[in-house]
Amino acid sequence: MALIECKNIHAGYGGMNILNGVNMAIESSEIGVIVGPNGAGKSTTLKAIFGLLNVSEGSIELRGDNITNLSPDKLVHKGMGFVPQEHNVFVSMTVEENLEMGAFIRRDDFNYMLERVYSFFPDLKDKRRQPAGELSGGQRQMVAMGRALMVEPSLLLLDEPTAGLSPLYMNEIFERVIAINESGVGVLMVEQNAKQALRIAHKGFVLAAGKNRFTDTGQNLLNDPEVAKSFLGG
């Protein structure tokens, strides 16, 4: 059974559909990457999965459990973590407080999880008492990912985690994504840096006009001349 499976989902804002039948499935051992041109519905797909907008048709299943249109806080309880593309840290709060907020729903002792997040992102440990708003873009992204990891999700949704970052940070973020995935967390992410992202992807989904254009392994998509020509800039 797939970790997350979207079956023919249609969704949008205020009656206007942006997604017109998106299908995707990944296992918990996998990294799934969604790529495609602007306006293809990449971020919208993530938001639809995370209950941030209404799915009008189709269904979303988490380990076979129908989660279509559940609210975000319920999905957090079900073991999903979501990192928005922008405004994804509490700027006035310290790094550690940001992580604590990620663990808000937990009533148990989550200190071991703080340590685990710091082991994924050693940079953050030195800055734990610093307001997240004072950090660089890459470090903020790490705080945001760490925050989402605090509930020990089985699925992590990342919306363009490398947007606006230097190539150096981009590679570091991708390395962390691989490490997180190897610790047993399924990752589904939207990426603009399509080539680099597909390189680490077990599964790739090329969306166009709110539909799957190509669905294959990351490697096959990279090697597909048609995908390369139309979506990866040659």
């Binding site: 509490f90 604590e100 808000f104």
Partner: protein, 333 residues
């Protein structure tokens, strides 16, 4: 020396008293704004309502205070604070929640709060009349005259018991609020929601709980401010509505959303207001004796007392022009 004591009594103490009241009101206003993103105009009448609840309790159990040596009203205040907190949560459930769920514009919420304030004013007048009441029923206000160890000082420092209680309570409330916001799970969630409401939701923070806690704190503080103000002066139905403008000025001066800013803003507005209406003639008398040519008028103040209410207005204008985000950077707790 006497002139200095006079100045201290009438400006520093009185300014600090009214400043503390403004600060307590402004903290409530600023917290509500930080979480719910609208200016809650009914806050002042929640203060009056709280004070009237204290009046009822004081009338029911007038002997409690003398038994422990504190004003009865002050002893009853915690009970009334709990009641006002519940009323605040109830008002939110009845009037604001539905609007919030329909994602109305903030100005609609503001208008709703104006409606609530008019309703509260009506209810208070309906049950308590329009007259002036005293919170001292079986006890009387203790006044402390503190002798100063200076030979030239024949005047005393004067401070009343409710004023001292007000300062102590404000210090207690601010420390408690500081610890709550920085150490407790819910307090941090409040800061998180004020910082970034969307991310708070995405993190699984129960925003309804945070909203409830906000109203509990705002309601309890409003009741305390109203009660301590009526202990200092007298209780009347328009008691707090008259200080709505200075309270909002204090919140904006401090930076809306910042409770520490609201505290500072309260004192800035309170002290400036008191200083502006201070009659300098008395302080300048010795100077007149030295320079006979100087003919001092009977009253020499920056602003006549009747125009006191314009002071917060001007402070507000100045802040909005030169430092629109307030002394402390606003919009976050």
């Amino acid at each position: 020396m006497n002139e200095f004591i006079f100045f201290f009594n009438s400006v520093v103490i009185n300014g600090a008293v009214i400043g503390s009241i403004y600060a307590m009101g402004a903290i409530g206003v600023t917290l509500v704004f930080g979480i719910l993103r609208f200016a809650h105009f009914a806050h002042a009448d929640m203060m009056t309502l709280g004070a009237f609840l204290v009046l009822i309790l004081t009338a029911l159990f007038p002997a409690v205070g003398p038994a422990i040596g504190l004003p009865t009203a002050f002893v009853m205040m915690p009970v009334a604070m709990v009641a006002t907190a519940f009323i605040a949560v109830g008002i939110d459930k009845l009037f604001y929640k539905k609007l919030r769920e329909n994602n109305v514009k903030p100005v609609v919420m503001v208008m709703a709060s104006v409606g609530v304030t008019l309703m509260l004013q009506g209810l208070i007048r309906f049950f308590a009349g329009t007259g002036t009441q005293s919170l001292y029923i079986d006890d009387r206000k203790a006044i402390f005259r503190i002798d100063l160890p200076f030979e030239s000082a024949s005047r005393n420092l004067v401070v009343t018991e409710p004023q001292l209680l007000l300062f102590l309570f404000l210090a207690f409330a601010v420390i408690a609020l500081h610890l709550f916001l920085n150490k407790s799970r819910l307090g941090k969630a409040m800061r998180a929601m004020s910082d970034n409401p969307d991310l708070a939701k995405v993190s699984g923070i129960n925003t309804n709980t945070v909203v409830g806690v906000t109203w509990i704190i705002a309601g309890a503080l409003a009741c305390a401010a109203g009660t301590l103000l009526s202990l200092d002066v007298t209780l009347k139905p328009d008691l707090s509505f008259m200080i709505l403008l200075p309270i909002f000025a204090a919140a904006i001066v401090g930076g809306v959303g910042s409770p520490y800013g609201a505290l500072a803003g309260g004192f800035v507005v309170g002290l400036t207001e008191t200083l502006a209406v201070f009659n300098w003639t008395f302080v300048l008398r010795p100077l007149e004796r030295a320079i006979p040519a100087l003919d001092l008028p009977n009253t020499l103040a920056f602003v006549p007392t009747e125009y006191k209410i314009t002071i917060p207005f001007f402070i507000l204008l100045a802040i909005l022009i030169w430092r629109p985000t307030g002394l402390f950077k606003g919009k976050i707790i």
